[in-house]
Subunit: 93 residues, 2 copies
């Protein structure tokens, strides 16, 4: 899921927390933050601290990825092209 705004993060956090069957209080205790903060994050509060959010995502087992434009596509492209030439090389032996 692409993250465009704080609202995307908020939805992912709440959704995942419910998937795990945790209350806001449970999660807050595990992450080491206040329940009020979890509630604020889930409500989409824009100005929350990034490191706390990273910690929260980690505890929820949500993976965050950063990619340059065309990077993921290039990686896959590069991979498949290299793979073919490598395999051809071995076939000719």
């Amino acid at each position: 899921m692409k993250v465009n705004s704080m609202r995307d993060v908020a939805a992912a956090v709440r959704g995942r927390r419910k998937d795990l069957g945790l209350s806001q209080a449970d999660l807050a205790a595990r992450v080491g933050v206040s329940r009020a903060w979890i509630n604020a994050v889930e409500a989409g509060k824009p100005s929350v601290e990034l490191d706390l959010v990273l910690r929260l995502l980690d505890h929820l087992g949500l993976r965050l990825d950063l990619a340059k434009p065309g990077n993921l596509g290039d990686v896959f492209k590069g991979r498949s092209v290299d793979l073919d030439s490598v395999l051809d090389e071995y076939r000719d032996r």
Copy 2:
């Protein structure tokens, strides 16, 4: 690139800014933040505001993705294991 900490974000931001040939001041003006803040982010300051960071990443053309466990990782795992066994097979010929 997986984001584990603020340091990963910092490195990506600085790297991308340099790739684009922008100074901290140029970038700050475009994003609508102070140069000091850009510098703080690139130094890995943990407590920066998430919405400002999201804006910064957007201006740098860096894509942020959130994924649940087993969503993307398994895909890569399967791929790398298959590649190694295929290459080993050809080596033995």
